[in-house]
C-alpha cells in the first residue's frame, strides 16, 4: 500500500504541470476573463445607461430583489449554480486533454528515454506500476481539476454576487439562492463515475502506450478511426451491414473521448440533451445532479466499457512486463 501511494505520488511529481498547474491556470484565466467582462459590462452599462445581467425589462436593480417572486428566485439561484458549473466545465475540458496525453505517454515515455530500466530495477511489480498510473489518471487528476473547478466556481459566484450588490441586491440574499454545497457534491461526487466511464479510453490509450514501438498517438487514433472508415466503406458497397453510426458512437468515441468528464450524461435516462435549451436552468441542473448522473449505472453500456477497459489494462500490464526494447 505504501509502495502504491509513492507510485501515485511519483506520477504527480512527473506530471505536476498537467495535473496541477493546468487546472489552476485555466481557472485563473477563466476568472480573469470573467472579471474583465464584468468590469467592461459595468463601464459600458454605466456609459450607456443600461444595466447588465438579469435586468432586461427595465426594472431597476434596486427593486429587483423585492420584485422577484418565488419562481424567479429559483431561476436566479439555478442561474448562479450554472455559473458555478461553468468553471468546472472549462477545467473539465482541459482535464480531458491532460488525461488523454498523460495516458498515451504513461507507458511509452519511459521506454523511449530508457528510464524504464531504472524503474524496473526497483522491487515494484508491473501491475502496481500500471494501476498507479490508472489511479493517477482517473482519480488524482480529476480530483485536483474538479477542486480547482469548484474553487473557481465559488470565486465566480462571489464575483457576480458582489457585482450585483453594487446594484443594491444583497450579496447574502443572492448567495442563499444559490446551492454551492449541492454543486460541490454533484461535481466531486462524480469522480467515481468518471473513473468507471473513463476506463475504456484509459485502457485503450495505455494499451497503445505499452504496445507501440513508436508513435502511440498515431496508433491510438488510426486503429479505431481506420476501422470505422473500413466499415463505412463496406456499408457503402452494401456487402456488409454493420451499424456504422453505432461503431463510431460506441467504439471510436468511447475508446478515445471518454476521458472528457460528463460524457455519461448522454446515457443517463429520463432526459435528452436536446431538451436542455427549452427548459429553464433548473432543468439543466436536474440533468447535472448526482442522482441523475448515477442513473447511468443502470445501463449496461457503462459496464461493458468497464470490462473492456479492464481487459485492455490487463494487456497493457502484460506488454509492460514483456515488451523488450529498452
Amino acid at each position: 500500500m505504501k509502495t502504491f501511494y509513492w507510485l501515485v505520488k511519483r506520477e504527480f511529481w512527473e506530471h505536476r504541470g498537467g495535473f496541477f498547474w493546468a487546472p489552476v491556470i485555466t481557472g485563473s484565466v477563466f476568472l480573469l476573463l470573467n472579471l474583465m467582462a464584468i468590469v467592461a459590462g459595468e463601464v459600458w452599462g454605466g456609459m450607456h445607461g443600461f444595466c447588465m445581467g438579469i435586468c432586461t425589462n427595465g426594472t431597476s436593480m434596486h427593486s429587483l430583489a423585492n420584485a422577484l417572486d418565488q419562481q424567479s428566485m429559483d431561476k436566479v439561484g439555478a442561474g448562479l449554480d450554472l455559473v458555478m458549473y461553468s468553471s468546472t466545465l472549462i477545467i473539465g475540458m482541459v482535464l480531458g486533454f491532460v488525461v488523454f496525453f498523460y495516458c498515451l505517454g504513461s507507458l511509452y515515455d519511459d521506454r523511449r528515454d530508457r528510464s524504464l530500466l531504472f524503474w524496473k530495477s526497483l522491487p515494484i511489480s508491473d501491475s502496481a506500476t500500471v494501476l498507479s498510473k490508472v489511479i493517477a489518471a482517473t482519480v488524482v487528476a480529476p480530483f485536483i481539476a474538479l477542486i480547482c473547478g469548484v474553487l473557481a466556481g465559488i470565486a465566480m459566484l462571489l464575483m457576480f454576487a458582489i457585482t450585483l450588490s453594487f446594484h443594491g441586491v444583497s450579496v447574502w440574499h443572492l448567495l442563499t439562492l444559490a446551492h454551492p454545497l449541492q454543486v460541490i457534491v454533484n461535481v466531486i461526487g462524480s469522480i467515481p463515475l468518471y473513473f468507471l466511464w473513463a476506463l475504456p479510453t484509459v485502457g485503450w490509450l495505455m494499451l497503445c502506450s505499452a504496445w507501440a514501438r513508436s508513435k502511440p498517438f498515431l496508433w491510438a487514433l488510426a486503429l479505431p478511426v481506420g476501422t470505422g472508415i473500413v466499415i463505412g466503406w463496406f456499408n457503402l458497397l452494401g456487402t456488409m451491414n454493420v451499424g456504422n453510426g453505432w461503431f463510431w458512437r460506441e467504439i471510436v468515441v468511447r475508446a478515445l473521448f471518454s476521458i472528457f468528464p460528463g460524457g455519461w450524461l448522454r446515457l443517463a435516462q429520463g432526459m435528452q440533451m436536446e431538451q436542455l435549451g427549452e427548459d429553464g436552468p433548473e432543468h439543466a441542473l436536474d440533468f447535472l445532479s448526482i442522482g441523475h448522473s448515477y442513473g447511468v449505472l443502470a445501463s449496461p453500456d457503462i459496464w461493458i466499457g468497464v470490462v473492456a477497459g479492464a481487459a485492455m489494462l490487463a494487456s497493457a500490464i502484460w506488454f509492460r512486463r514483456w515488451r523488450d526494447d529498452a
Partner: protein, 285 residues
C-alpha cells in the same frame, strides 16, 4: 556456499539472430565477474535475462528466484545500473531519494545521504541539469545504499571522463563490495576493471568462450617474448596470437607448460585486453 546465479541451457532468439546460444554458467557469491565480449555478442541479453527484463528458454536461477516469474521479488535483492542516463530526466535528487527510500525495503537513507554529501549534487537539482558524471554519481549513491546481494553493471562508466571512472570503481570497492555481495560488470574499458575482477567470462556470438577465475587465467594463458630466431619454433606450438614488438615476437599460449615456455624467452601474464583481442579475432571478419 550456493551459487548466486545458475544458468542452464540459456537461449534467446531474436527475429533473425541467436543472442544466447545454449549458455550455461554459475556465479558464486563474493565474486566480481567481468562479462566481456564484442558488440552484439549477447552480454546485454544475458544481463536482461538475469534481471527478468526479457524472456528466454532454458533454466535460470538468480538468488533462488526465477527472473521470469518473480521479477519484483528478485529486484529486492538485485541492483542494476545500465549505461548512463537511465534516471528519469524530470526527477529531483530529493524526490528520487524519497521514492527509493519508500519503495525499497533494503535502502539505507542515511548511507545514501552520506554518499551524496561527498558530491556536488544538491537536493533540488533535477537529473536533466546534471552532467553524465553526476547522474552516475547519483545512481551509484542510490545503489550503494541498498543492501543487495547482487549488483549488475552494464557499461556503467560509458561516456564518463577518467576522473569519474576511477572514482566510480574506487567507491564500489571501498564502500560497497564485501564477501556477501556479487558484482557482474560488462564494459569495453577492460583495462579499468582488470585489477578488480576475480572472475572473467568472455562471450562471443551468444556463447561463453572463456569462464575462469583470474588465478586460473594466469596459469592457463602465458605470454612469452621470443627472439626472432626462435619464432618459428614457437609458432609450431600453435599460439593463440602473435605480435611483433621491437623486433621480438610476443606469443600468447593457452594451456602450454610454463617450464616449456620459460625456456623460450621472457614470460609474463597477458593483460585481459590482449587476451580478449586474441580470443575475439575474426569476430567482425
Amino acid at each position: 556456499m550456493s551459487a548466486v546465479i545458475t544458468a542452464n541451457g540459456l537461449s534467446k532468439r531474436y527475429k533473425s539472430s541467436l543472442a544466447l546460444d545454449n549458455v550455461s554458467f554459475q556465479i558464486a557469491p563474493g565474486r566480481i565477474v567481468g562479462l566481456i565480449g564484442p558488440n552484439g555478442a549477447g552480454k546485454t541479453t544475458a544481463l536482461k535475462s538475469i534481471l527478468g527484463l526479457t524472456d528466454f528458454t532454458g533454466e535460470l536461477n538468480v538468488l533462488g528466484f526465477d527472473p521470469r516469474k518473480q521479477r519484483d521479488k528478485l529486484m529486492g535483492e538485485v541492483c542494476f545500473i545500465a549505461d548512463v542516463a537511465v534516471l528519469p530526466r524530470w526527477i529531483r535528487v530529493r524526490e528520487v531519494v524519497d521514492f527509493v527510500a519508500n519503495v525499497h525495503p533494503r535502502f539505507d537513507r542515511k548511507k545514501c545521504e552520506a554518499f551524496l554529501a561527498r558530491t556536488k549534487l544538491t537536493p533540488d537539482q533535477r537529473v536533466r541539469q546534471m552532467s553524465k558524471g553526476m547522474i552516475v554519481q547519483l545512481h551509484l549513491a542510490l545503489v550503494m545504499a541498498i543492501d543487495a546481494r547482487l549488483l549488475i553493471l552494464d557499461e556503467p562508466t560509458l561516456g564518463l571522463d577518467i576522473l569519474y571512472r576511477k572514482q566510480f570503481y574506487q567507491n564500489l570497492l571501498e564502500d560497497y563490495f564485501d564477501e556477501n555481495k556479487t558484482i557482474i560488470v560488462t564494459t569495453h574499458q577492460v583495462e579499468e576493471v582488470e585489477h578488480i575482477l576475480t572472475d572473467l567470462m568472455f562471450i562471443r556470438d551468444g556463447r561463453i568462450v572463456l569462464d575462469a577465475d583470474m588465478d586460473a587465467v594466469g596459469e592457463r594463458f602465458i605470454e612469452v617474448m621470443v627472439n626472432a630466431d626462435r619464432a618459428p619454433a614457437a609458432r609450431a606450438m600453435k599460439p593463440l596470437d602473435e605480435r611483433q614488438v621491437f623486433g621480438k615476437s610476443i606469443f600468447l599460449f593457452d594451456g602450454v607448460e610454463r617450464s616449456q615456455l620459460e625456456a623460450m624467452g621472457e614470460i609474463r601474464r597477458p593483460s585481459v585486453s590482449d587476451l580478449f583481442v586474441a580470443t575475439m579475432k575474426e569476430t567482425y571478419a
